[in-house]
Symmetry: C2
Subunit: 517 residues, 2 copies
Amino acid sequence: MAQKRIVIIGGGFGGVHTARTLEKLLRPEEAEICLVNRENYFVFQPLLPEVLTGSLGVLDTVAPIRRLCPRTRLYTREVERIDLAGRQVVMLPGFRPRASHLPYDVLVLAPGAVVDFTGMQGMAEHALPFRTLGDALRLRNRLIQAMEEAENETDLEFRRRLLTFVVAGGGFSGVKVVAEINDFVRGAVRHFRNIRQEDIRSVLVHSGELILPEMSPSLARHAQNVLAKRGIELRLRSRIESATADSAVISGAEVIGTRTVVSTVPAGPAPLIEQLDVPKEKGRLNVTEFLEVRGHEGVVWAVGDCTNAGTPTGRAAESESQAAAGNICAVLRGQTQKSFHFEGYGKLGSLGHHSGVAEVMGLRISGFLAWILWRLFYLGKMPGLDQKFRVAFDSFTSLLFPTDFVQVRIQASDNITYEHFAPGEVVFEEGDVGDRLYVIRKGQVEVLQNGSQVSVLGTGEYFGEMALLSSRPRTATVRALQATDLLAVNKGDFDKLLIGFPEFQSGLSELAARRSA
Amino acid sequence: MAQKRIVIIGGGFGGVHTARTLEKLLRPEEAEICLVNRENYFVFQPLLPEVLTGSLGVLDTVAPIRRLCPRTRLYTREVERIDLAGRQVVMLPGFRPRASHLPYDVLVLAPGAVVDFTGMQGMAEHALPFRTLGDALRLRNRLIQAMEEAENETDLEFRRRLLTFVVAGGGFSGVKVVAEINDFVRGAVRHFRNIRQEDIRSVLVHSGELILPEMSPSLARHAQNVLAKRGIELRLRSRIESATADSAVISGAEVIGTRTVVSTVPAGPAPLIEQLDVPKEKGRLNVTEFLEVRGHEGVVWAVGDCTNAGTPTGRAAESESQAAAGNICAVLRGQTQKSFHFEGYGKLGSLGHHSGVAEVMGLRISGFLAWILWRLFYLGKMPGLDQKFRVAFDSFTSLLFPTDFVQVRIQASDNITYEHFAPGEVVFEEGDVGDRLYVIRKGQVEVLQNGSQVSVLGTGEYFGEMALLSSRPRTATVRALQATDLLAVNKGDFDKLLIGFPEFQSGLSELAARRSA
C-alpha cells in the first residue's frame, strides 16, 4: 500500500484531535499527516476569557501544535481556497509572494466558525469579536485604555460611556466573558483614584428567557443571581440591533451609551466553507453519518463547527474527530466505517471569580466546587506537564494576588478602517484634532459652522482633508443625517499616500481650494 | 504655599523613579505629581530579552505605573508637543479627537531615546528595533514565523536566509538579545523535523575591538568565548551599513543573506526633544550640574537618555532621578540644589542560558553565579510581592522546562509600508501571488518578461497594480536597477482605497489599460 497524504484544515479542537488520533491509529508508512493553520498554536478556547483578568498568563491558554502532534507536518499558513476537483489545497504566501499547492488523498475540514455580523448595522465596524488569543488581548487592552481615559475625563456623559461594557450572547462563552470583564474592571478600580464601583456598568444581552440555555433552568437561574449580585445587568429576550462607536441599540428601544461592545455570537461559517460548492444546511456542511462531506464520500470528512452534526462545543468536536479519524483509517485499510453518535458526559461552566456551575452524571453543582471541577477538567485536557503546571500555578496565585492591568501594546491601531454612525451622531467637532480623512461609503452628513449648516455631503464625497493638509484643528463640525458608513484614513497613511500618489494629492488640493473659496 | 503641578514626561526608569522619589519627598498639599506616558506600564528593559525565550512570562517584565506611583496622576497618552513658553504640555487625543493641554509649574523630561537609523540605508524599513515590550513580542513572532516557514521551504538558499539572524550592537543589550535569540531558536529546533542545529546562524555585529565595552577586557573576552561556544558568530570592528528584506551588508564587504536583522543601536533623541528649541549637545539636552535644562533653570529638569549627563543606563537614570527630584523639592521649598554625580556600584550582564558576567566591588565573576547575581539584583529592583514571586517562579521553571514557541498574533502586518531594495534584488517574480501595489519613492526598477527587459520605471511611477486589479498572478518580474525605496500598499487597503477614491481607481485603470496594450 502506497503512503497516502491526509491534509487537515484548521488547528482548533477538531483539527488537532483528528491529527492526534490519526497519529495513534496509522503507521507512518500508511499516511503522511499534514495540518494547515494560520497560527502555530492551538487555543484552549474555554480558558481564553481568563486572559482578560490575567488570572491565567497570556501563553497559558495556548499550546504549540507541533508539540501536540509531533508526527504531523504543520503548515503555518492561511488557506486561500480548496480545489475539490483537483484534490489540492492552495495556501496563501508566507515571507515571499509564492502560493503553495498541497495535494491530498484525504481531506479533513475543521476550520471552525467565524463571528458573523451580517445584518447587524455597525457591529462589524465597532463590536469586538471574542474567539482568538488576539481578540482576548485586544479586548483586555481596550478595557484598560477605557479606564485610563475615564480616569482623567471631565465630560461625565462620555466618562459613563467609557465605563459601560456590553456583551452580546448568554451562552457559556458570553457569560464567562461578561463575568471576567466585570471582575477585571472592578478589581482594577482601586488603582484609579477617580473611578468608583458605581461608575461601572457591565451588561449582558441574551436573546433567550434564561442564560446558559444548555444548563437546566434551576442552574441557569442560579447563575443569573450570581451575576446580578456582582453588579452585572441582564437584558433577557433582547438582541443588539446595531452599534456605533458611541452606543449599542438593544431590541429597537433601549440605547446604551458605550465604547465597548463585545460579541460572542453569532457564529457563521468560515469563508473557506462558504466558497465550497457542496450541499449545505444553513451554511454548514451537510455530512453523512460517517462525517463525510456529501458528494465526496471516502475522500473529504468534516468535523466541528462547520458541519450540521452535533453541537458546536469543543467536546463535541473532539468526539467527532475521533470518529472521523477512525473512519478515515477504516477507508484507507478497506474496512467499514462506523456511524457517529455524540453523547455528552457532563456540562461545566465558569462564572468567573472562582465560581461555576456544573451538571455531571445527573448532579447539579454550583459555586467554588463547580469552578474547581471545571478547572480540573480542562487541566486534564491539557497536554504537557509544564503547561499543566503553569496553569495550576497561575490558578493558585490568582487566588492570592490582585488583578494586574498592564496593556500589551504591539501595534498601533488600524490605519484604514470602516466606521458606522447613527443619525444625529457627531463625526468630529470644530476645534478637534484633525487626525483622519473620511469618505462616505453610504449615507449623508451635514457640515456645520457656528451651529449652522453650511453643506450636506453624500455617498462618494469626502471630508476632513483640510485639517490633515494644513495640520490645523477641524474648522467645522460634521454630523450624520442618516445612518452613515464611512471609510477613515488616518494621518500616517494619508501622508504616505500623498507622497506616493500625485493624483490623490492634486485631487485633494483642488477640493480643499474649492471648499475654502 | 499654593499646590504646584509637576509634570513628568516618560514612564521609563527616569520618569517613574522621579515620580516615586517626589511622592516620598513632597507632601500632597505641596505638589500634584502628573506623569504622561504612551503605555500604562513601566518596562524592566534589562529583562526584556528574556521574553524572547519565554523564560519570563510576557507580563513579568512590566509593571503598572499606577501601582508603582500610587499618588501620581497618570495620563496614558502620547505627547504631541511641549510649549515651554506657555508652560504646558499638549497631549494627543485618546478615544475622541480632542487634544488636551496640561499646564505645569515644574516639568521633568524623561522621554528616553528612540532607535535612530539615520544614514543607514534600508535599516528603518527592514531592521527590527529592540526597546519596547511590543518590539520583543514582534521579534519573538518573527523568529517563530521564520522557523515555521523554513521547516517547509524547499529553496535551500532562501531557507538559509530564514534561519540566519543578525544582531547589531555588542553592548549589554545586544549581547543579551543575540544570546536569547540563539538559545530560543536552538531550543525550539527539536520540534521541527527538517531543521538541524547546523542550519542556524546567529551573528553579532559590533563596532569595537571587544564586546561589552563597559566591562573589563578579560570579562569581555570570556563573554566572547561563551557566545562563540554556543555557535554565535562575532563580527568585530564592523557595522551594518545597509539592509534589505533579504540581506544585511556589513562594513562594505560582506553580505549576509538574512530575513531578520535586529538593532539595539544606535539610540537617537526622542522626536519630542528634537522639537525643543533649547541648547543641545549631539541631539541630547545640555543640562546644568543640577540637571536643569539650560535656559529654563528652576522650571525644567531632564533625566536619563535624553541628556548629556552620565551614561545611558537604567541605573544612571535612577540615580539622576533621585538627584532631580531632590533638587525640585529644594527649589519648591526655597532651599539650595545639590550637584549630581554618578557613581556606578557594579556592572552586571546576562549571557543567556543561565550564564552571566559581573564586576561587583572589584570582583570579576562569570557563569551561573554571575547570572544568579544579575537576576537577584533585578528581582530586588522590582516593586510588589507578586511580581517578584512570579519572576522568581518563572526563573525557576525555566531551568526545568523546555523552550516554548507559540506566537502571539494580535494584528495582521502593516498595511502601507516602506521597503528598500539593493541593486539586482527582485521585488517579485512572474507567477508570484500579487499581494501589493508598489510606488517608487526613489530609484529605478526594470520590468522583465520571459527574461528580457520590457520597460524601466523611475521615481514616482507605480507597478504591480495589474495583478491586484485582476486577482491573477504577476505577469512580469520586477528587479531593482539601483538602490530603490518603495511604498507598498497591501491588497486589503488597496481594495478599500479603490472603493473610497474614484480618481484613484480611474487613474489605475487607465494605467493598466495602457500597459496591457
